[in-house]
Homo-oligomer: 642 residues x 2
Amino acid sequence: MQRKIYLTMHSREEARQIFLSRFQDYRLATETIPSRQARGRVTAEPVHARFSAPSFHAAAMDGLAVRAEDTFGTSDEIPRTLSIAQGQAVMINTGYPLPADKNAVIMIENVLLSEDGTVGTIRAPVYPWQHVRKVGEDIVATELLFATGHRFRPADIGALLTGGCAEVRVQKRPRVAILPTGSELVRLEDVAEAIPAGKTIESNAEVLAGLVEQAGGEAEICALISDDFEIITSHVQAMAASDADMVVINAGSSSGSADYTVRIIEELGEVLVHGVTIMPGKPTILGVIGNKPVVGIPGYPVSAIIAMEQLVLPLLAQMQQIHPQPPVTIQAVLAKDMPSRAGIEEFRRMIVGRIGGEFVAVPLKQGAGAITTLTRANGILRIDAASEGEKQGQARGIELLIPLPEVERTILCTGSHDLCLDLLNDFLRKQRPAFPLASTHVGSLGGIMALKQGMCHLAGSHLLDPRDGTYNISFVRKYLADKDIRIITLVHRQQGFIVPRGNPRGIATIHDLFAENIRFINRQAGSGTRVLLDYELERHGLDGDAINGYGQDEYTHMAVAVAVLSGKVDVGLGIQSAARALELDFVPLVEERYDLLIPGALIDTPMIQQVLRVINQEDFQQAVELLGGYSTRETGRLVDPT
Amino acid sequence: MQRKIYLTMHSREEARQIFLSRFQDYRLATETIPSRQARGRVTAEPVHARFSAPSFHAAAMDGLAVRAEDTFGTSDEIPRTLSIAQGQAVMINTGYPLPADKNAVIMIENVLLSEDGTVGTIRAPVYPWQHVRKVGEDIVATELLFATGHRFRPADIGALLTGGCAEVRVQKRPRVAILPTGSELVRLEDVAEAIPAGKTIESNAEVLAGLVEQAGGEAEICALISDDFEIITSHVQAMAASDADMVVINAGSSSGSADYTVRIIEELGEVLVHGVTIMPGKPTILGVIGNKPVVGIPGYPVSAIIAMEQLVLPLLAQMQQIHPQPPVTIQAVLAKDMPSRAGIEEFRRMIVGRIGGEFVAVPLKQGAGAITTLTRANGILRIDAASEGEKQGQARGIELLIPLPEVERTILCTGSHDLCLDLLNDFLRKQRPAFPLASTHVGSLGGIMALKQGMCHLAGSHLLDPRDGTYNISFVRKYLADKDIRIITLVHRQQGFIVPRGNPRGIATIHDLFAENIRFINRQAGSGTRVLLDYELERHGLDGDAINGYGQDEYTHMAVAVAVLSGKVDVGLGIQSAARALELDFVPLVEERYDLLIPGALIDTPMIQQVLRVINQEDFQQAVELLGGYSTRETGRLVDPT
């Protein structure tokens, strides 16, 4: 096994500068295109007008075209009548040519026309060329309309047409060849019912292509290439010799036994950078073959995107002479501690919303393999390489991934996980006005803590008080005593055992969890489901520690269901809808109440009012019942805390 | 002549709200498209995952797949050897499936492999599922990937593919039918050598289409329609009944005799708004036919764009449930007084640049007919309806039309006009780094005043001191005594008489300006050319006031040349290149020096250094000489002020 170590890691800024300066003088090819298609394109040479605009002296107002000299001396006291019939004055509309013997226009509002329209009476003079757009007032034939390097906006197309330029010479868009490599990859289009064993659907190429196109380039995605040094080499060689302006190899950019990219670039050209102190995105390669930039982008989807955005798109911008608008950054209070490794610049995916007058940012999971951490995020927190992390409650700059007005509409929901929240989100987004609901899952108690710290708009909770069998009330009293919190029921739902289809181990009661060879998966401490389990165990005088797997936990109902589906465990406790989603069997144990906890101070905000409106809608409640295992008999009811 | 008055003018905000609320519930049609083409599109229904990701327990690192239990108890002191040959440990690459009997991965960096690769020695334990991406860790089959109303970003396409969604149901893009009306219009493609007399090239339709496309819509431009009530009516009726989501009629939105739009909408539907208190853009019509929005957009190009952006694009956004990022706004000091009519909200086109630590905004001309005021602008100043104008030196918010980093690179050039400045701009933009040169023309003395107030980076000047025949030095001493100003020669150039081709009036000397029936056009007071003329008149003991046209002036050499070309005058004083550009004849009168005046404090900035570098370049100087009438014999020379 041949191994290479990253000999010199570079910081993002160093790596970027090395790459940009190497291709400082790279010039794109040029082409001539119709002006009507030139929006967004960049001039490759100066553009001069062929025609003047206006090309004649034109009326700038509706009115009477006159000789200004014929109006001199008029006033309210000394009106004058001009003959239209005899051509002393001529009716004219805006934009039409001024008769050759006229040099001004009197606005129609200032003319008294005779009944038959043959004469007009005026009561004030005009000066020569008043209300006339003179030849060339806008554009003079031969003048420079656009210099080299101008990016056409919509208005510019109007100037091109007006100036008589039917075609323009522009830079070609930079063309990027994307080579997806990996023997484990399969195209979605080649997958029928299920993903073949051990295969992974290729998805990065299309994402990278989208980033390229968004940056003004054109992407060409090549066919999948298996992990074979010779085959990859020949493809890279071919693309570097093609008319592509850049070659992107994904993945194989690390230093594993099947990571050939760095060796291939070394053999065919030069590796400028291998390894960048960013996370995700560390195993990135920036290189050159011939005069072409060739890059190796890591395989994990989030790594691929961060590496592309931070290190490769800047070169695409430089090639096009674009200086992009920097992302909009807002100051937001961090909802959690976020430890970070010193020496590495971290890009953390965040959900941001505005609570009262303040933005709050909730971190999502860190895994570079989880594309959903990016699709769910609406902001990015950069944690500086010098930092060992950020503290909850600090305000930090967050780079927004969506427009600010959409961030401001985002409802931050946390606490316990329930599938009805996804349904609620979907319904909320269909309303006018729409407010997207962004959920993070930290368990019921975690939600209560977030409410305590003012880090969410609402929290889902199903915390059973073992002493009296009530839900949520006593916990709100205990932890949120100083807050005005409204408890509003979302649903009643079945909790029970999620088991493989057909229930092969015959799980029926809580006692069966203790049977020999039964592997169980637990929920995390602080989750309502965990509290429920412990309550049931205690009620039956049982000791959880005797259950095989009691000490291993998952954070969501779906994760528990997946553990059962994959055969990792035989049983877990969860909600029926999770079992149903994965076509597993479900053994009901108990019905519980799941409430939304909402600060009183937010109740009258449009977003919370919209939430309350939706959960009281019949169509929403019908959709909930269709999920299975739910009752909406008290949905929308304010729980009396007394 | 049937006339309608705007009965009720609305403010921009009122008009927008009337329009938006009328179409609050307008729903776009939907369609199913391949996920690979879904970037930028908006979900029409919730999207659920078909597959989990990972779909198997996958190695998250390159290394050895093991049973975690086999590693317990190891340490530096107590290493353990695992047999690869016998399958106790298995070499595995990132992303590959974990063998069924393994539950963890040891990073390859922590394994000592035997020479023959049959055994690996480890010195630390791993816990179960360490360095393993478990089934469904990213996506669980059936889970909600995207709710209704989600706009796909590049990363989202990765999630769609990974989740097994080859197609998605999305909103159709809103389709906008654009009807260009006006008997005076002609398509550029139908113009051969010259624009037919009285005709105007149609250009608004393509501009409006570009705005629609930029806003996420699809535009269909209909064929040109002449100003005929019946014909326009039948077209509007047809488009309102088509599958278009909106109909835009351009122009005829005012109240002139050929302005039919308001009557047509009234007859076929309802006029919601006619007349908005904005300038440009006042004669805008917002209406409805059937359930479709139908708008009348004014004909002047700047009016058309402002009306479209301010009143129509917000509805396109609402239809798509987009809340666009507001424009980036910066505070900039106004370079001039800007009077404004109270009761009208004005949109003034500005050129913005950064001088030292401060942004400076220079207003461009106001004319709604001049598309070049928008193509040259990089920012917009809104002057509130309540305001009677803004004062020079005040800081005001400017909405940027281009990215901030490009504004920061903009060189503000003012003073006297010379065609070499266009050439300089073009050369500057071809350099790396590129700095665009944005010129406004206020005459040499105006440029000196701008320097005095710190409102430009440099100014062009050719002010002759009649006492000693020197250029610029005495004026800099007089007006900029307290400033460190460098005078650097750009060119020497010929000034002379611009006359029609063949010089039909036989103009040869300054005395000929006094001949009978000779019509002259002057340059504005404060311009170097005016000073030169007055100097020559005095030198010959002549009285300018006796010249026919001495009191009428233009602001640029090109405007003078146009006046000659159009036959409005017989002669003007100007530079040879202006005559040459319009194929006029030129009678040399005198050679003068044209300098760049540059504050010493800015000399060492990268932008000014780039200017100095370019004017000393041979290729630039060659291009200048090719213009005709120029000498570069002292170009780039620092004029000694002593």
